[in-house]
Symmetry: C2
Subunit: 382 residues, 2 copies
Amino acid sequence: MPYFDHNATTPLAPVAREAWLQVSAETWHNPASPYRDGARARIRLDAVRARLAEFIGCAPELLVFTSGATEGANAVLAHWAQSLPAGSRVAINPTEHPCVLESAKKFFGDRLLWLPVTRAGLVEHAVVKTFFEKHRVAAVIVLAANNETGVLQPWAEIARTCALAGVEYFCDAAQWLGKLPAAGLGGAGWVIGAAHKFGGPKGTGFLKIPVGAESFRAQLGGAQQRGFRGGTEDLAGASAMVAALTDAEQKKVFQESERLRWRGQFEQTVRSIVPGVTVIAAEAERLWNTVSLLMPHTENHRWVTRLDKLGFQVSTGSACATAKEGSSHVLAAMGYAPAEAKRVIRVSSGWETTEAEWNALALALSGLESEFRADNGNVIKI
Amino acid sequence: MPYFDHNATTPLAPVAREAWLQVSAETWHNPASPYRDGARARIRLDAVRARLAEFIGCAPELLVFTSGATEGANAVLAHWAQSLPAGSRVAINPTEHPCVLESAKKFFGDRLLWLPVTRAGLVEHAVVKTFFEKHRVAAVIVLAANNETGVLQPWAEIARTCALAGVEYFCDAAQWLGKLPAAGLGGAGWVIGAAHKFGGPKGTGFLKIPVGAESFRAQLGGAQQRGFRGGTEDLAGASAMVAALTDAEQKKVFQESERLRWRGQFEQTVRSIVPGVTVIAAEAERLWNTVSLLMPHTENHRWVTRLDKLGFQVSTGSACATAKEGSSHVLAAMGYAPAEAKRVIRVSSGWETTEAEWNALALALSGLESEFRADNGNVIKI
């Protein structure tokens, strides 16, 4: 069935499955073991790290394999709490992922300065620059692409500005990686990624640390990963992650413009055949795969449930928020009222999504709109 | 080639590979997603958790899936630092794994009280009891089985004593699980395990928390795992881990006594045909798979290298220490001099290890002993 929730997670890419199986069968030894098969595992781990380093553009020794983006976010904020001067303030984008927001609140609390965002949820580069003139901040947190709206932030410019100002910069690239070029991310200070967002396995990700963060420790334990993260390395997971990224980076080159066109057509169609719908952040630069729709008539859970029955899987915003009470903090930061936010559905395609599936989804939305409109009519009649 | 380093890591069990592949193909959706396939993933995750809970004997809601034992150790010590009364002291066994030792030192430093151990590295239950009379401690840390020597600790008795004294107890069961019955571990306060030590994939493990630890957070982020650990759950990894544990628990029932006999024969043979060898902690109750040998003539790295060339993979103690300087903290705590510790090799078999492989290893050790003795003789002559 048409899967339109790739921002929540993606199916395992065949190349990732193959890499995982191959390593599990051939190179399963502990990379820290003192015999030749241990050395083979170390060499392969270094090769995988070097490959990832090429993609994002940094020295391999700045890459730490983790269990995912959430681990990375927790570790970076915990490190800043210890390494930044006492009383340091951190400027943060309010539309960050919960793993970044919660970690930032825990370690910096009222020393967080909230960056202003536009109605599209955009942190403008100029704003960050002037922000430095108004406030003394030790670090800045702005993600690369938002998971709910797909809005792209000017992370490269912000990274340069932070570097010039001698300010730490943390960039959550979980939604960017595999959809847009990884190149350049190595130039941002602290970067996190999660394999399962781009066809890799769940439970694996990476963290890129800046030069000179020798005291950083994601986990204390053995001397693995040059001490940056204790614990036996998951070589199979890391290999699968990099295989998936390699695959996605190639797809990107040849298919991105076409996929962007399909999304545009979908938005146009929906606007024309679904009265009362609004495309969130329509004017902003967004991921080619993501559309956030403010639907008419009824709450998003009803849209999602009916779409599921019709064979379309979409979500009510962030997956990790599903289990949580209340509505999207992202839409709230963008100025949407709770009642509006509760009518927003997120549509996120993948490289394997077809133009026909986009069109079918538009028609399904149109059909449900008529149905829900009729229902409301009936309600009024009664 | 005969693999005798199962305490470092194990080959992936076929049942674990099958479980991982099945989930990755069929139940890869995000367990937090609002459509039916998301619900299926949630249901499967709950089933896997319930299965694990049956094995160790606790309520399923006390189990948190993690990326491994190291994450669990770091998280428990960090939690204690926040939740225990200010100035609390923690009694700790000096032969713990580095991930526990380093975390304990970071968060409790000079508030750690080192439990005395016997020459075998044993923390006697009576000692723990009297320790409570002498010192006021808020928590106790004693692992279940030592990774270097295989020595078993009286964790069940210690757990009961701590429970009666109203003291927190943390038990690293990474080396126990899959080799000895998991049953009863649910009764210990805080317990950690790592899948790759018993045929599961690397990068996955679990943490069992005690009743009432509602404020515990392994990672901040989404509402996954009832808030205990943010981050998309690795259902494939968790399923593979529990499949491997199920497999190991069954093997245990039918093969444990035989494997214990094989290890005993090996030790007897080695003592008789390798002059000058000592079995570390020979008198203590140990894992059926582990033998720690103090070798004559030359350093352990030379033994390991030559054995590797002869087709036998053994280690120089803990794998995670390989990359580290200096010798084993475990053997030091047991009273062995650095010069002796540098001559110790660790032999750890698996369920698939055969009696013939044990015998072949004994003969290989005997052959190398003659060779190294001759070398030393020559050195003296020169």
